[in-house]
Amino acid sequence: MRLLRAGRWITAIALLLLAGVYVRALVYTPVERLQGLAQKIYYLHVPAAIWAETAMIIVGIASIFYLFLKDPRLDRFAHASAEVGTVFAVLMLTTGPIWGKPIWGTWWSWDARLTLALFLFLLYVGYLLLRSAVADPASRARFAAVLGICGMVLVPFVHFSVYMFRTLHPMPIVLKPSEPSLPGRTTSSTTSLTSFCSGVTISRWIDSGSGMISTLRRRLHLLGLVAHLVDPSDHVKGLLRQLVVLSFQDLFE
């Protein structure tokens, strides 16, 4: 439970930092000469995009370790990171069109970068769907790990294949083969740092929060103790859920 508390604290601090960054971005940075206020969305869009890709890499690394160590905590960490990645991918995919409408004159264009961003999102959806489609926790963890590692391997292909296509999207300014061309002092440090904080904390938080409690429950379930230890309202809910499931099964059989 100490981890849970730490996760909550880090999340709170990261949220404060985020608020500070956005006040700074909105009030204290100069308005871009050509794009006007629309450019401000970069402060959200770029870190979200970086984190959408990075979270997949974290999923992959946690999955590799899972396959070696078979520690269920690693599997849950990968799961949490995938959920965070999904959220950031959604952020990236919603802030992009909001910027695209005034600047490009269209919400969406089927160029390589946008398409691949969408497929990154679908990769996360596939990962989460695969997890939900396997009932046995051990096979679920193994299957998810395999998919997670493949996803991690796919990310560099996605990131660098955009150089092969003529694209409408501004070229990456932070994660590119040569040096980053964003002036370090202005934005990159703050935005990436805060997104780092929020990303890691949210994942840790979900991991420790839902993960630990559910493992405890599962273990107690195995021991047949759960009915005595959970609080009465939960017990009633569980019974009701079982009743609903059973009646559905009756309907379809």
């Binding site: 990154l120 396997v134 009932a135 299957f143 590692i149 292909f157 294949s161």
Partner: protein
């Protein structure tokens, strides 16, 4: 590292699968009929005056191959589910890598058969010149097919043992197929349009890189999908 004996085992697994397929022929026949039907549907769904055949043909070719490959991949491990054949295969004294390689080869033969029939059909239905470009086209098709069948074989080993198996495979696999498909479609377009061969170098390199990476990764990860 695949030694000669593990390669021999892989050949045995592949020939077993292909023999099963050859005896019944339902899988391959339905895949071919499916390809013909998809091509016909495309033919009705387009406006021949608006988009030229040359622009449309590469996309149609690859969309058709995608569908056909997913059909084939779903079948690969479905075969093993009947009578717990997979357990028998896993109990056999051969490496997991050999099982994967065998399945991969069988799938490749299956998909290649469909493609060998599909390419002339596209040439016929969409009136594009394929024969003069057959060399580069074969290279593109081989490289792209190897890449996505390698990933697909790995994934189908997992998805057959989930709920909604037939539905889940495309959902999980398509994000991985989209990159080789993009490169292959780009390269096919420039080959069919008679543009210089140097233009497709980049795509071929990316396809080759993708193949190497994903064949190795799948070979390493396959044991995790079947070991209990």
């Amino acid at each position: 590292m695949p030694s000669s004996s593990s390669l021999r085992h892989a050949c045995a697994v592949a020939s077993k699968d292909l023999l099963v397929e050859f005896r019944s022929r339902t899988g391959i026949l339905s895949a071919v009929v499916f390809v013909v039907l998809v091509l016909m549907v495309f033919n009705f769904g387009r406006d021949p005056t608006a988009v030229s055949n040359l622009v449309l043909a590469p996309s149609i070719l690859w969309v058709t191959f995608t569908f056909a490959a997913i059909l084939a991949l779903n079948r690969a491990f479905q075969l093993e589910l009947e009578n717990q054949a997979l357990d028998g295969l896993l109990l056999a004294p051969i490496g997991r890598g050999s099982i994967y390689l065998g399945k991969l080869v069988a799938n490749l033969v299956f998909v290649a058969t469909v493609e060998v029939i599909g390419v002339p059909l596209v040439a016929l239905f969409f009136n594009v010149e394929v024969w003069p470009h057959i060399g580069p086209l074969a290279a593109i098709i081989t490289l792209a097919t190897l890449g996505f069948v390698a990933v697909g074989t790995l994934f189908s080993a997992m998805t057959v043992r989930t709920r909604f198996a037939e539905l889940l495979l495309p959902v999980v696999l398509l994000p991985f197929m989209i990159l080789p498909l993009m490169w292959a479609t780009l390269a096919t377009t420039s080959v069919l349009a008679d543009r210089p061969l140097s233009e497709i170098g980049g795509s071929l390199k990316m396809l080759a890189g993708y193949d190497i990476v994903f064949v190795v990764v799948s070979l390493l990860l396959f044991p995790a999908t079947v070991n209990e």
